[in-house]
């Protein structure tokens, strides 16, 4: 038995090694290096002296702007996830349970197609739609009999709209996959036993679809906490977030160690969020 084990490892290694070596060099070593780096005063190969320090983390806890920014990024991520759920779940339900055949396939495809267009450009197109004198404003004023002024550009709602637009397909996709797996006869059985539509939804459909909802929420929440280009483009004066400050440390201010520390704190937060989500996911898969 042990011999066969060894044999199996022997056969697996040549096939596994290239992929995992690659991941080590490009993901795991950099992440470890970043942790190391976040305790340094400066870059090691610029020729300037450097030493170890806790100053970069102290900055986070001493100066309230960093954790206030982190809180506002978390709030943004929560709001975006919430709207994606409100829009995505009913859409996935309609898709999985109300539509059939080619119609369903076509609409499903149409929903995931925008993924294959550039995310940046989609965000920028919103700028043309949302601003005063932009397309939304002009169109609404042409249709409506009274004069209104729509100017969402450079505001918090603009950032939320842009991010929801970018991420809602994830929610539709994950919810659709779990909803589709729910046997229709289960729903029919519940209905024939006298359960109302609302009861069926609450007692049968939502609990069974929960893993899809959680998976979708995690897929949306995590990248949104670290988003920086969407707030920059759409947010105007409200566009300063945790992600934009990290970006600044790397491309402008040139304080890489502080940037690394801020990144690492973000990573810790993300891991906590994922850990909270994982029991639900594990229960669903087992």
């Amino acid at each position: 038995m042990a011999g066969q084990r060894r044999n199996e490892i022997g056969r697996a290694v040549p096939l596994l090694a290239p992929a995992y070596l690659w991941l080590t060099v490009a993901i795991f070593l950099p992440l470890s290096a970043m942790i190391f780096f976040s305790f340094m005063t400066g870059l090691p190969n610029t020729g300037k002296p450097w030493s170890f320090t806790l100053q970069n983390y102290a900055a986070f806890f001493q100066e309230d702007i960093y954790w206030r920014l982190l809180l506002s990024s978390l709030r943004l991520a929560a709001e975006v996830t919430f709207w994606c759920l409100i829009i995505g779940f009913p859409a996935a339900y309609a898709l999985a349970k109300l539509l059939k055949g080619r119609m369903r396939e076509a609409i499903f495809l149409l929903i995931i197609l925008p993924f294959w267009s550039n995310g940046l450009v989609r965000i920028f197109s919103w700028a043309m739609v949302l601003r005063e004198g932009g397309l939304l404003d002009t169109t609404l004023n042409a249709i409506l009999p009274f004069k209104i002024s729509i100017d969402l550009m450079y505001s918090y709602p603009a950032i939320v709209i842009g991010l929801v637009h970018s991420y809602v397909p994830y929610m539709v996709l994950t919810c659709y996959l779990t909803l589709q797996a729910i046997d229709d006869s289960l729903i029919e059985a519940a209905r024939s036993l006298g359960a109302s539509r609302w009861q069926t939804l609450r007692r049968i459909i939502v609990p069974l679809a929960l893993p899809g909802v959680i998976a979708g929420a995690a897929l949306i929440f995590v990248p949104v906490v670290g988003s920086f280009m969407e707030p920059r483009i759409l947010g105007g004066r409200t566009g300063t977030f945790y992600g934009t400050v990290i970006e600044d440390q790397f491309v402008a201010v040139f304080n890489w160690p502080l940037g690394a520390a801020l990144s690492f704190i973000l990573l810790a937060v993300v891991l906590v969020v994922l850990a909270l989500a994982s029991p639900v996911l594990r229960r669903a898969t087992s």
Binding site: E132, G133, M153, Y154, T240, V245, V251, A252, F254
Partner: protein, 349 residues
């Protein structure tokens, strides 16, 4: 005389022969700021055989980081004279041999010899143009142009005001609004308080010239801080309803200069490029076709029509009294400004 002409002809032939293996010339500058004008690039390439490759930054901080993280890549970089000290101290730029730059002698002595650019007798920057960070107004929003900087705080324009997203510029603007010397801010707290009261007025921060122009084109703003050359460009090149206002309280003046980074591979090309940039013929074409700040080359300014903005207004002694030239700032000041500005931005949320 004939011999001179012969030498000249020979050198042109030589130059064109070298042009066959065109050398790359990497230029780092603001976008839409003269050096990337297609007609200028074409003329320069034809004359010298260098191939111009432009790269852009949108803050002085980013410019410095680009030189730091790309050693040896850039051949010539446009650096605001107030940042020259920092670049020299970090060993990012090298001394320039001005004898290779024929037009250097025509630069006004006071600018060429500025202590910001000349250190220990070595020249680290060749003055190119100077201008103002003043106010620009949307002509559609004003019957008579405002005269005071306080128009930015006027509630009539609430939500229709912009300011550039730059710590140093914002703090120095606040210094002018509170009647302080921009290079020696005694009372930073007053500046912060003044800027805090400005925040509710603001629509957004702009970072590139194009942002400002977009906002004017779609009539979203009334007034904002803007650069004099950019306001001129908005008017001349893009036909936008923009006018520059130099408030009675004063304005920030800056001097932009060309420098050569340490490790530049095409120093000869860089010298030729700098010479071309301060040439009167390039400057007059830039002003008439596109719009530009004031050249540091006295001959270039003299070549402009007498009633042009860059001669009449910018050369006006009355204006000269009101403006304050940016001087280098210390690391401690820069950090304090950065922190103050970051806090202001976080507090608006």
């Amino acid at each position: 005389m004939n011999r001179l002409r012969l030498i000249f002809a020979a050198s042109t032939i030589l130059a064109s022969a070298f042009g066959a293996h065109a050398a790359d010339l990497h230029v780092l500058n603001w976008k839409g700021y003269g050096a990337d004008e297609p007609w200028a690039v074409e003329a320069f390439e034809k004359a010298t055989g260098n191939k111009v490759i432009n790269d852009f930054f949108n803050s002085e901080q980013e410019m410095l980081t680009k030189i730091r993280t790309n050693p040896g890549l850039y051949d010539v970089v446009m650096i605001n004279a107030a940042f020259n000290d920092q670049a020299t101290a970090e060993n990012l730029i090298q001394p320039i041999d001005t004898s290779k730059i024929a037009n250097y002698g025509d630069i006004s002595a006071e600018k060429a010899q500025s202590p910001m650019l000349v250190k220990d007798g070595k020249v680290y920057g060749v003055p190119w143009v100077w201008g103002l960070t003043a106010l620009a107004i949307n002509d559609k929003s004003f019957d008579t142009p405002p005269t005071s900087i306080n128009v930015m705080w006027d509630v009539k324009h609430k939500g229709r005001v912009v300011i550039r997203d730059d710590a140093v510029e914002a703090i120095q603007f606040g210094a002018i609004a509170t009647g302080q010397n921009i290079n020696d801010i005694k009372d930073l707290d007053t500046v912060k308080a003044k800027l805090t009261s400005l925040m509710p007025q603001i629509k957004t921060f702009w970072s590139a010239e194009n942002d400002f122009n977009q906002l004017i084109a779609s009539n979203q703003i009334d007034v904002g801080t803007y650069w004099s050359g950019s306001a001129d460009r908005a008017k001349t090149q893009f036909k936008l309803p923009v006018s520059l206002v130099i408030p009675q309280e004063g304005a920030v003046a800056w001097l932009d200069a060309w420098s050569i980074p340490v490790g530049a591979k095409n120093v000869a090309g860089a010298e030729a490029f700098i010479n071309f940039m301060i040439e009167p013929s390039f400057y007059t074409e830039w002003v008439t076709k596109v719009g530009a700040p004031v050249s540091a080359n006295t001959k270039a300014v003299a070549a402009l029509p007498e009633d042009s903005f860059n001669r009449k207004v910018m050369g006006d002694p009355e204006v000269a009294k009101r403006i304050q030239f940016q001087a280098p700032i210390t690391d401690a000041q820069r950090e304090a400004y950065l922190k103050a500005w970051q806090e202001l931005k976080v507090n608006v949320k």
